[in-house]
Subunit: 411 residues, 2 copies
Amino acid sequence: MPPIPVSKLAPASLPAMPAVPGVRLGAAEAAIRYKGRVDVVMAEMPPGTTVAGVLTRTKCPSAPVDWCRAALKGGKARAVVVNAGNANAFTGKLGADAARRTAEAAAKALGCKAREVFLASTGVIGEPLPDEKIRAALPALRARLSPAPWADAARGIMTTDTYPKAATRTARIGDATVTINGIIKGSGMIAPDMGTMLGFVFTDAKLPAAVLQTLLSRSTETTFNCMTVDGDTSTSDTVLLFATGAARHKRITRAADPALKDFRAKLHDILHELCQLVVKDGEGIEKLITINVSGAVSTRSAKRLGLAIANSPLVKTAIAGEDANWGRIVMAVGKAGEPADRDKLSIRIGGVQVAKKGLRVPDYDEAPVNAHMKGRDIVIDVDIGLGRGKATVWTCDLTHGYIDINGSYRT
Amino acid sequence: MPPIPVSKLAPASLPAMPAVPGVRLGAAEAAIRYKGRVDVVMAEMPPGTTVAGVLTRTKCPSAPVDWCRAALKGGKARAVVVNAGNANAFTGKLGADAARRTAEAAAKALGCKAREVFLASTGVIGEPLPDEKIRAALPALRARLSPAPWADAARGIMTTDTYPKAATRTARIGDATVTINGIIKGSGMIAPDMGTMLGFVFTDAKLPAAVLQTLLSRSTETTFNCMTVDGDTSTSDTVLLFATGAARHKRITRAADPALKDFRAKLHDILHELCQLVVKDGEGIEKLITINVSGAVSTRSAKRLGLAIANSPLVKTAIAGEDANWGRIVMAVGKAGEPADRDKLSIRIGGVQVAKKGLRVPDYDEAPVNAHMKGRDIVIDVDIGLGRGKATVWTCDLTHGYIDINGSYRT
């Protein structure tokens, strides 16, 4: 298969990434699966770094997910080691051993405990991880860690991604300014209801692990868990948030501390941007689709309705075909299994009212809607007409590109 | 868009359909949407005919589905009128009125009550049904009804179907032989958890409506409700079973009557065949996929696990690409939200053991599995390893053809 072209919705370039005080990172070529590209990434954090994480809720988690779930209980982190090309999933005891050996090797190189090393792997499922290749790469990688190479790290974690993904923010906590940097990977097997894909966010804020976890979990619900490429949930999805504590600000003990107002907003912001970067690299994407659901009986219901629309192959192929086939949106609302009343349903596409209270609007003019369908950004507003529940969900269209990419991934 | 080629899995021809004593039918061209083809079908049954039905569970049902739901309460039928090209869905009071007028016109032509006329419509959603075209066609159609034209009827209900679909069986009830004929349509927007698509089954058995309903509902669970093309559930799905009572057999009052043993088996058989005919016309199909799940904690759980695999775009595209990417089956089991234990999971493809108890089998030889992937019939066996729940689910692969068909359905 020819190389996958870069997504038409890719940003022009990576943002300039400042250093995050305390974080040093780097990438190396370990030839795990891909040749001639970086495929192992390591970040080192200083003693005292706290960590929070959201992990896949799959019943078939990868070995690194199991490892992180256990390690998160300690709330402390000194490093994260990530590889691309092999997911170390469905590898049984062999995979658990490979994960443990990798963490132990990194811990030895850094002089920390293995449980302070976090792991993430993506790539093919079911093949033994050649952890010896990762372990062999670690000493040299450790020796040249630096605060700068965020772009290398963003590239080193890619699998079917067509571009590297990173974002940065600064936030005020009291009198101090802290930095938040994030890198992320993902373009297929992207589905919500869990911490999706691999994402790593670093800050120099000084926050207890429990506070970090609250902030991360809360923002995940309206960012990562509101996007979908194909409704398929990975075995490996992991988002980790590290706080080095290098910043000088007042002591924070609660997520609700008013001093965190700006940090909370900026953290949400960066997670949202990282999430958008993933959707915009959705396999085969031609159009970004934003679905705003209102009037549902609850937030949860609104999200499920939005996801039913976002995951409908018929909605997605219609949009790929630039066809304002809103009947399929009706269909998707109807099948979602959530409270809905056909005769109260209203739909806008590109801001144009298409259907109102269960009926196509009189004198419906398809011309402005058809013009909207030809763009890259498709916006669908669905009002359920029953309550006050709202949610926004993002997805991409379903195109020939998706079939090309996924019919021949392993070959 | 060029015409859609006939499915490669289409049967060579329609079976020879015998008459069902008491049933007369026919088809006409009403030019509802398609030109130059039959698009209205009518079947007339004698007084005393009983009826059972399973209808879509969508929250946005079509007007004919609403009509049938009410009419089924009477348990009696004299006719069914079906049109293709317009679903009469999301049409509000206009649509309900159009349905009522159609039923009233047919009732007038036949001399029966409107509530004894059943209706079904498929096609575009959200456009007013030109019921005057249907009503105008009814008198001439009524005048030439006959016991023979099953093929015309099977053709007249098609929308994106690439071939007409019909099946027939005979069954013994006591000393009598009864006939069971069925016609069906469907190829996209096919998902389970309801009576899927439009299907009409006729028999001359003499059975109370309650008995019919029990038999139909029971078989639907393991036939229609175990297939999926795209996970999208229609606004219009309807399966109706009519029994004219023309056959001479002993009085039956219970579905469990031992005299119904053969009839139950044959009814299940014909529903299964009709269901297979729909999956084999799945939009863009290149391969029929049969997924046998065993070892789940319950039948219901097995079915949900099977459907999670069947609806996974990544599983379906891998099969389209003839890639035995069994890691995606693991992924789909993991995301199903049903009890599963990664380390007890076993998978066979084409009868060849691929993974056992959470691990690829030692010395896995992909050659015979790759050979199986090149065929038209793909069989996947998944053992969850937890209990005794079993289910079989059918689907098709996800190909460029699906995108072609659904990116330009309305244009």
